[in-house]
Each structure stands twice: as structure tokens, then as C-alpha cells.
């Protein structure tokens, strides 16, 4: 009964999406207020229907309704509650439903809070959003119905893949999907603007917070997924350049580019055509990522049960949306007027530089991910493109980008003064250079890349700090006023500095964990010790244990540093009852931001066992840096100048109809400290 209710709600949502696709768009083109007025209530009701459907599926999981095929295949009555909930999206059907739920949620957000958008733009945006919703709802209803019954109902389910029985599943997919799907709003805005043929700085002002929101979640989602793979897979790696990872990295890279180009468009009315193109590309890459992950066309270490037949359906959807939006772009883009000239050495120039390198990097990841597919289709040759390819292409493209970050964020708009900026950054420059040289001197020429990497990371971090510092103008206003100046800086200035600081932190973590990690693989007998980095690890013995739905062998290890006990570690090997599938649970000991990492291998008859041990200095910085980046993004969203028509309600009424809400505050952001 409940399952059927969910199914019907989904069909109802699909019908609403069809209505939403046509009528508001007609209204927007014909300027018919009644047709446009449909968009808002329908967007909210569509969300309620899909929400109801999702709730119905969750309920089926909670009560272990084994007459629903999806529950049978992915659940188990003894499973802990949290995994019953997260198991809803731990499979193909459920995860696509979550995807659509977030899609309609964003539509409902625009419907509910978009009152300051001009009516035609809002109606057209919601209509375009509904095109995507209809496509993916049809996909669910036609090929991946999560409510299919299985009769007679079995007594017990098959259980969830043990790898997925982790808190990571509860957090990572929702975050990642909010990021992926969040870009759909930007896409809909872009397509709507192309159809209506109107694009101004105010448009960029509406688009930027949505892009930022999606970007923040995508950043958190990717880093969370990386950390999950790191502790769950037991290989000690945190990024494998695997197709599934690349599928999430591509929209992140182009989304980052979009964030920066929307800034130029908002403040200077330049790069319009490019920003629209990036908005289309970013969501296209999100959909491509969904296709790659869900269709199983690529061999991936993260691939779960996949189905090629469904892949064809998504591929058709993909061609329709990407092909359609790009054709529309080619047809309508020439109508958009370019404005705002600027010198090459300027904030805009630096942002163009950023966009160039980020898109080039996106392209390199794109080629590396899809080339094996193309070659296979072309002549059947099977190849794999792994880390060496990306280290050689992606790496070099990131270096110039990192070098320019501190310059870019200190540069004035329109025409910058490179010398003045360099003078303000001399302290950061000196610090980075001295550190790099000291490291080169102490580690020797073999580690020249590591030393340069550390220098680069410090340069980016120190550059961000010095940018904030110099905006305080301590020398002219004194310390007290200076601090007040810094605290009072607008959210976007703080956001920029904090996010860029986070980039430096991540780079530092990557360089350190890659260049200076220690790896030991050996067979240990009880009582034996081994040195890992500066730690001595002693194997005390093996003991069996029973968990809620698994049995395990726990290895007990004592860790000493310079003879003093620093802690104990208990990595284990588990076998889950439902599936008889073995998994390895790594033992991790954190000290500061460095980690000692132990994974068990084969257990031998005589009580000895194979272990793999790593010491990873500063490894936590990789993910902490991403969190700092996301905080930066959040600070930027809070900037009140981003809120359309923020000043007063009466002014909002004035400006929303004329579409020039941006003008009242547009001057404020342009006078950064660089001008002085």
C-alpha cells in the first residue's frame, strides 16, 4: 500500500513536470502573467510529491517491507537503523530518486524564494528545470522503479553491500548530489536567459549564490567521499584518478571556473557569453558524471551494481539536454552584447587566467576519462588511463593557477598595478621562498618537487593572509581601527581569502602525504615489532569479536614513539552474515594532522598475519583544506550584497520589475584595497 502510494506520487509529479515544462515557458515568451503564475505553486507541489515518494521508500526500508524488490535486494532486517535509512540511496533506484528529489527541491527553492526575480525569468527558469525533472522522472518510472513488488515476499533480504554499511554512505551521496544537482539551477537560469534573450549583470547576481551553494556542497561531498574511500578501502590512498572520481571532479573544476567568471560578469558586465557557456557545461558535466557512474560503461574501483540498458536511456537524455542547450547557445549567444573592457593586468585579467587554466584542466580530466571509452568504441582496443597521465597533464596545469592566486585576489578591477601588488605580497613571497630553500637544503635535491610544492602551498596561504592584513591598512589608521576594518570587510572578501587559504592547506597536505609517506608491507608474528616512520608498531595478537551483523578478527597493536606508548590500534577483517562478504577495516591513529594507518591482509594458520602500514604526515590537511574552502564559499554566500535587492522592501519592489537590482550596490565591491 505505502509502496504504491509512493509510486503514484511519482507519476503525479511526472505529470506536473510535463505541465510545468510547457505552460510557464509559453507564458514567459508571450508575457502572459496567468500562465507564468502557474510555475511557483507547481514547483512546490512537485517537491511535495517527490518528497512523499521518497518518504514512502524510506518507510519501506524502515519496516523492512520485503515485498518491495528494492528492499529485498539491499536490506536486511538485522541491519542497524542508520544503515536502513542510508540504504535507501545505497542502490541504483534509490540514488536516482534522491537525485530527482534534490532537483525538485532546488526548483521549489526558486519558486519559494525567487520573489525578487523578474516574473518571466523565474517562470522560464522553472520551466527549464522541469524539462530536466520530466526526463529523469521518466527514467525512474520506465527503467528504475524503486517500488516494484516481489511476490511472494521473501522472509529475509540480501543485505546491503558491507562496504556501504558505514556512516560515509549517510553523508557522502547526499552532499555530492546536492552539489551535482545544485548546478541544475545555474543551467536553467542560463537556458532561460538564452531563450528570453536577456542577460545583464543582475542575472549574474542571481546566478552566483546558487553556483556558490552547489559548489560548497560539491566540495564537501568530494572530500568526504575521498576520506571515506581512504579509510574504508584499506589501500591507504585518497584519490585514485578513477573514472567515478573524475566524474565528480570535472563539474567541480568547471563550477569553480563558473564561480569566478560570474564574478567578472556581475561586477564588470564582461565575459557574458563565456559565463553562460560555463553554466551549461558545468551541469552537462554533472549529468555526464551521473551517466558514467550509473551506466557502468567504465571500469571503476567504486562501481556498484550497474546496468548497461539503463545507461542507454541516460545517454539519450544526456544527448538531448547537452545537445539541445549547446545548440540553443550557438543560436542565441551572438545576440548577447559584450561589455566592460579591461587591461590584461587586472582583476578581470587574473580571473580570465583562472578560467583558462581551470577549463584546460577540466579538458585534460575529460580526455583522460573518456579516451579509453572512445578508443574501445573505435577499434576495440582496451586501455586504461591512470594516475601517471593525470600527474603529467593535470599537475602542470595547476601550478600556474596556484602561482597567480595571491596576485589575482589583490589586483584592482579594470586596470591593475602588478608592481604595487608585488610590493604588498613581498612578505608572503619571501616566506615561501625561504621555506622552499630551507627544505631543499635539508632534504637534498631529490626532493626538489616536494620543496617547490611546499613553497607553493605556503605562498597561496600567506598570500591570502597578507591580502586580509593589507586591507586593514594598519600603517595609516592604527591597530585598533585596522582590526575593525578587517573584521568589517564584506563577506565576499573574507570568503575569497579563506577559500584560497583552504586551497593552500589542501596542496600542503597533498605534497606532504605524497612525498613523505612511509609504507611497510610485511608478515608479523605476535610480539613482533616494526618501525613505521617515527613509530614502533608491535603486534600483540589476534582476537575474534561479533558485531551486530558481522563477525570479525581484530588485530591488536601497540604503538610506541621513542619507547613511550602512544596508543593502541585495532584494524580488523570482517565477514558480514547476510552476504558472506569479507571486508577490511583499517586502523587509523591520528596525531595532530598526521596519521598512522594499518590494514590487515591474509591471516595465516600459525597466528601470524600480513599487514600493510603507512605513516602519512599532514594527510588530514587534504580534507581540512577542502572544509576551509567550503567555509570560504559559505562566507561568500552570506555577503549581503549578493542578496538581490537586499536594502529595503520598498526598493526591492522598484528594482525587481526593471531588472536592475544590482546597480544600487554594484559600486561597493569594486573598490578593493588594491586601488590604494
Amino acid at each position: 500500500m505505502i509502496a504504491e502510494l509512493g509510486h503514484f506520487a511519482l507519476i503525479l509529479a511526472f505529470v506536473m513536470a510535463l505541465v510545468q515544462s510547457v505552460l510557464p515557458m509559453l507564458g514567459a515568451v508571450k508575457r502572459d502573467a496567468r500562465l507564468m503564475a502557474i510555475a511557483r505553486p507547481v514547483s512546490i507541489h512537485m517537491f511535495l510529491m517527490v518528497g512523499l515518494s521518497f518518504a514512502a521508500l524510506t518507510y519501506s526500508y524502515l519496516v523492512s517491507d520485503f515485498s518491495v524488490a528494492n528492499v529485498v535486494q539491499n536490506s536486511f532486517s538485522q541491519k542497524p537503523l542508520i544503515y536502513k535509512i542510508s540504504g535507501v540511496w545505497g542502490n541504483h533506484e534509490g540514488s536516482v530518486l534522491l537525485w530527482v528529489l534534490i532537483l525538485v527541491f532546488f526548483g521549489a527553492l526558486v519558486g519559494a524564494f525567487g520573489s525578487n526575480l523578474p516574473a518571466p525569468l523565474r517562470a522560464a527558469t522553472l520551466a527549464v528545470q522541469a524539462w530536466v525533472v520530466s526526463g529523469f522522472l521518466l527514467f525512474i518510472l520506465a527503467t528504475s522503479n524503486p517500488f516494484e513488488r516481489q511476490l511472494p515476499a521473501p522472509i529475509e533480504g540480501n543485505g546491503l553491500n558491507p562496504i556501504l554499511q558505514d556512516i560515509g554512505l549517510a553523508i557522502h551521496p547526499p552532499l555530492l548530489y546536492i552539489g551535482y544537482v545544485g548546478f541544475s539551477i545555474t543551467f536553467s537560469f542560463a537556458v532561460a536567459a538564452l531563450i528570453l534573450g536577456r542577460l545583464d549583470a543582475a542575472w549574474a547576481r542571481w546566478v552566483r549564490p546558487w553556483t556558490l551553494l552547489a559548489w560548497v556542497f560539491l566540495t564537501l561531498g568530494i572530500s568526504m567521499g575521498s576520506y571515506w574511500a581512504y579509510y574504508e578501502l584499506g589501500w591507504g590512498g585518497w584519490w585514485f584518478w578513477d573514472p567515478v572520481e573524475n566524474a565528480s571532479l570535472m563539474p567541480w573544476l568547471s563550477g569553480t571556473a563558473l564561480l569566478h567568471s560570474a564574478l567578472v560578469m556581475e561586477k564588470r558586465d564582461a565575459l557574458k557569453v563565456w559565463t553562460v557557456l560555463l553554466a551549461i557545461i558545468t551541469f552537462s558535466l554533472s549529468m555526464l558524471g551521473t551517466f558514467l557512474v550509473r551506466s557502468g560503461v567504465l571500469t571503476s574501483v567504486h562501481a556498484f551494481a550497474t546496468d548497461p540498458q539503463r545507461g542507454v536511456f541516460i545517454l539519450v537524455l544526456l544527448c538531448l539536454f547537452i545537445g539541445g542547450s549547446l545548440s540553443l547557445f550557438a543560436w542565441r549567444a551572438p545576440l548577447l552584447k559584450q561589455g566592460g573592457i579591461f587591461a590584461p593586468i587586472s582583476r578581470e585579467g587574473a580571473l580570465v587566467f583562472n578560467n583558462l587554466f581551470l577549463t584546460a584542466a577540466t579538458a585534460s580530466v575529460f580526455v583522460g576519462t573518456l579516451y579509453p571509452l572512445a578508443l574501445d568504441a573505435f577499434d576495440g582496443t582496451k586501455i586504461s588511463v591512470g594516475a601517471p597521465f593525470f600527474n603529467l597533464t593535470f599537475g602542470p596545469l595547476m601550478v600556474p593557477l596556484l602561482l597567480v592566486i595571491p596576485f589575482g585576489q589583490s589586483m584592482a578591477w579594470k586596470r591593475g598595478d602588478l608592481l604595487a601588488v608585488a610590493q604588498r605580497l613581498y612578505a608572503a613571497m619571501a616566506l615561501a621562498l625561504v621555506l622552499a630553500l630551507v627544505m631543499l637544503w635539508s632534504w637534498g635535491a631529490d626532493n626538489i618537487l616536494a620543496a617547490l610544492g611546499v613553497g607553493l602551498a605556503v605562498w597561496v596561504m600567506a598570500g591570502s593572509v597578507s591580502e586580509l592584513w593589507s586591507r586593514g591598512k594598519f600603517s595609516s589608521v592604527g591597530p585598533l581601527k585596522g582590526i575593525r576594518r578587517i573584521v568589517g570587510l564584506p563577506g565576499s572578501a573574507w570568503g575569497t581569502a579563506v577559500a584560497h587559504f583552504g586551497v593552500g592547506v589542501t596542496v600542503l597536505g597533498i605534497v606532504s602525504a605524497t612525498a613523505f609517506q612511509t609504507e611497510v608491507v610485511l608478515t608479523m608474528k605476535p610480539g613482533q615489532s616494526v618501525d613505521v616512520g617515527s613509530y614502533q608498531v608491535t603486534f600483540d595478537g589476534l582476537s575474534p569479536a561479533t558485531g551486530p551483523n558481522y563477525i570479525e578478527d581484530i588485530g591488536r597493536f601497540t604503538v610506541r614513539k621513542a619507547g613511550v606508548v602512544a596508543g593502541t590500534m585495532t584494524p580488523s577483517k570482517r565477514v558480514y552474515e547476510a552476504s558472506r562478504m569479507p571486508t577490511t577495516e583499517a586502523g587509523i591513529m591520528t596525531s595532530g594532522v598526521s596519521q598512522l594507518y594499518l590494514a590487515l591482509g591474509e591471516i595465516h594458520q600459525d597466528g601470524s598475519l600480513d599487514i600493510r602500514a603507512y605513516f602519512k604526515p599532514l594527510v588530514l590537511l587534504i580534507w581540512l583544506g577542502c572544509v576551509v574552502m567550503a567555509i570560504g564559499g559559505g562566507l561568500s554566500i552570506m555577503d549581503r550584497r549578493l542578496r538581490v535587492g537586499a536594502p529595503t522592501p520598498s526598493r526591492r519592489r522598484q528594482t525587481s520589475s526593471s531588472g536592475t537590482a544590482g546597480t544600487s550596490t554594484s559600486g561597493a565591491g569594486t573598490s578593493t584595497g588594491a586601488g590604494s
Binding site: 584546460a360 586504461s384 603529467l392 597533464t393 600480513d610
Partner: protein
Amino acid sequence: MTRKQRRLITIGSVGAVLVLAVGLILAALNDQIVFFQGPTDIVEKDLPLGQRMRLGGLVEEGSLERFEDSRVAFKVTDGANTVAVTYQGILPDLFREGQGVIAEGELIGARAFNADTILAKHDENYMPKEVAETLKKQGVWKGNE
């Protein structure tokens, strides 16, 4: 600076980055890609020693041997031919005799392969696409489709 000069600078720098990116990608595609081979390919194609490649197939029943310090040896088969593989390290949880496997490494002799990576899967129902096709070619595929 005139408008024309600005445009030239913009186009020039776009071109430069484009050339850099394309150059890097082509160079990397030239020597950083790894070809996938089945045991029959390795026997028949006379591939050069020392070249990185991926070997895929089934782990032959009863072929797994374990030695000191996590060194292992096993055979990879596609039903028609077998290749002996050596590896030092910890095998993935789902590595089993009779199951599909992908080993990355280099040829060290006729029908002898030294792997430095053994690919693991998250899901025991999941068979790497390449392995499935190798097996289909030799007619030993037992799965659906």
C-alpha cells in the same frame, strides 16, 4: 593600449594555454596509457618485456601460492591460455580463486607477469567489463547477457 592590442593579447594567451594543454595531453597519451591484455593476447601477440600493461582474466583454481613477506604467485586464465603472475603486497578482500581479477604491472618473460597493483572491486557481483569480454571471446563466460 588599444582595443586591438588587448584582443591580440587575449587571443594569444588563450592560444598559448590551449597549445600547452593539448601538448601535455598528447605527450601523456603517448606514453602514460596502459593497454589491457588477456592471457591469449600475451601468448599470441609477442608483446615487449618491461612494458606496463593490465592483465585480466580469472584466477585459476588451485594456483594461488603464498610465500614469505606477503609475496604471492597465482595464474590468470581465460580458459585457453594461462599466465603466471607474481605480486608482493596485500591482496584485495574479494580476490579469490575462480574469480575475475585485473593485475597491473609488466611482462617479465614468456607467460610470466609481475604485478604491482591488483585491482579490487567493491561488489562481488561485479565483473570488470574487460575481463567479461576476454572470457566471452574464449567462450567460458558464465554470466548473463
